[in-house]
């Protein structure tokens, strides 16, 4: 996932907890991370869809952009030079998904961007970036942020976890009832585990990367262990590793950097058109890569990322060749595996990949070349498992 040389393997603040829970640890993006716990990938996946899964995502980068003049507009305008999303219209407490693009419109990384809501901090932007790209991202931010915007990386201070699944709101709501009212892609700062001597403050956002309702919670390293112990004390909550995180996001049709998206594709090719607000779609929108974005919107000949549903039970993995019914190569699988909750819960193989523009219509028959054999498949609409985001009562 990362091109950077991995010198020594880093550990998150929850490392000892993972080992104690019996996790199988693997190196991932420079960190020693849990790929699965004794429950196993399949059951962890299903548990997240049925109840609630707890994920350590502290390897991801957390960084704040603070305008020294305390005007939100200053930070927003600066960030709008390097991401396609509209940032100026973000209200305090709102969050948006976007990408860092290079000058050619290729994707350097994808990220979450939030405008803080805490009184006195509403001018501050909070970014969460991918672990494998974060050092390059920080260099990119330092290069492009003007003097009046401070870039503060908080990986030495802050941990990040995700609590995902239908029971997430019930559980976290016990600790802080206010989280029940947050809607998808909004956030707040509040006290979890309140006690007078050692309160745990957390940044809680109603978001995630599994397609489920749930939260991402940022807190100080020393508080996170306590918070995780508390959350794991609920019967409905089980720890979930990177293995199930991957099958969950694939079923949800969400891109994984380094696989479905990288510098060779634009956000339009990657199906991320929805993440670019209307007035940011023209060549003169003023951000790095805007020309490519506008050109790809206009040009119907470029490839597109689509969902691909193999017939039968054989999974088609990353780099599997996609052919049309006449045997011509039309694309390649970029993420493929088994979706335990797909096909209305029956489970089966699911995949995403790029195909030439004229094959992107849902229902198009294609062939996947798995171990030399052509296997039938269909282009389908994403996601494979419906999203259950909470958008308000």
């Amino acid at each position: 996932m990362s091109d950077q040389k991995q010198t020594e393997t880093k550990q998150t603040s929850l490392h000892a907890k993972h080992v104690e829970l019996g996790a199988k640890m693997v190196p991932f993006a420079g960190y020693d991370m849990p790929v699965q716990y004794p429950m196993g990938v399949l059951k962890e996946h299903l548990h997240t869809r049925e109840k609630a899964g707890l994920f350590d995502v502290s390897h991801m980068g957390q960084v704040f952009l603070t305008p020294t003049n305390k005007k939100f507009e200053t930070a927003a305008k600066a960030l709008e030079k390097i991401v396609p999303a509209d940032i100026q219209s973000l209200e305090p407490g709102q969050q948006r998904y976007s990408q860092f693009l290079n000058a050619d419109g290729g994707i350097l990384d994808d990220l979450m961007i939030s405008r803080l809501a805490m009184p006195g901090y509403e001018h501050v932007l909070y970014l969460v970036v991918n672990a494998g790209c974060k050092d390059a991202d920080y260099a990119h931010l330092n290069k492009h942020m003007p003097k009046g915007v401070t870039v503060s990386v908080k990986d030495d201070t802050l941990s990040l976890i995700a609590l995902q699944g239908p029971r997430a709101t019930e559980v976290l709501g016990v600790l802080a009832p206010a989280v029940r009212d947050l809607v998808f892609m909004t956030h707040t700062d509040l006290e979890l585990l309140g006690d007078m001597d050692t309160p745990v403050w957390a940044h809680v956002s109603r978001s995630g990367y599994t397609g489920e309702d749930g939260y991402e919670i940022s807190a100080k390293h020393e508080d996170m262990v306590r918070l995780v112990d508390e959350l794991l004390s609920y019967d409905d909550v089980e720890p979930v590793g990177l293995g199930a995180r991957d099958s969950l996001r694939l079923e949800a049709g969400l891109c994984l950097y380094g696989h479905d998206i990288d510098t060779t594709v634009s956000p339009i090719e990657a199906g991320l058109f929805w993440s670019i607000q209307k007035h940011r779609r023209s060549a003169d929108a003023g951000y790095l890569g805007a020309k490519r974005v506008a050109a790809d919107i206009a040009d119907k000949s470029t490839k597109r990322l689509v969902g691909i549903l193999p017939d039968g039970r054989a999974p088609a993995r990353e780099h599997t060749e996609v052919q049309d019914m006449d045997g011509n190569t039309i694309g390649e699988i970029t993420s493929g595996g088994f979706g335990p909750s797909s096909r209305e819960g029956a489970g089966g193989p699911v995949a995403m990949g790029y195909v030439a523009r004229k094959f992107t219509k849902a229902g198009t028959d294609v062939q996947l070349i798995v171990r030399g054999k052509a296997r039938p498949a269909k282009v389908v609409k994403l996601p494979f498992t419906p999203h259950t985001y909470y958008r308000g009562a």
Partner: protein
């Protein structure tokens, strides 16, 4: 009945008398099934396929990855466990018995000599 294991964690069971032309049943060990994780697909060979020792005999796909199953000895495939197509999870539930992959007519029974017996295989796994 005798059981032999390969270093790649396939097993082959053969009923006495063990000789050229004996039928062996092939599967993967419980150790391998556990390491693979939940099996979601098994690709079996065609009956009649002639294999040399070490040839790819089947493919087993778990939630994590695809892995090859190799022929522990040379011979001809005489039967495959079609139940695995609909119920690949049988490999996890019963790797040593119901989760067998194929039966084969052993070409050269002497090839079994190069494999490990149960005790040796147990020691081999402990060293991994």
């Amino acid at each position: 009945m005798s059981i032999y294991y390969t270093e790649d964690h396939e097993w082959i069971k053969v009923d006495a008398p063990i000789q050229n032309g004996s039928i062996g049943t092939v599967g993967i060990s419980a150790y391998a099934a556990k390491a693979l994780g939940d099996v979601v697909f098994v690709e079996l060979p065609d009956v009649g396929l002639e294999m040399d020792k070490g040839d790819e005999a089947a493919v087993v796909e778990s939630v994590k990855a695809a892995s090859e199953v190799y022929a522990p000895v040379g011979g001809e495939v005489t039967e495959v466990n079609e139940k695995l197509e609909a119920a690949p999870e049988t490999v996890n539930a019963s790797a040593d018995a119901d989760g067998w992959f194929l039966k084969m007519k052993i070409a050269d029974a002497d090839e079994l000599e190069s494999l490990m017996d149960e005790a040796k295989y147990k020691v081999y796994c402990e060293g991994l």
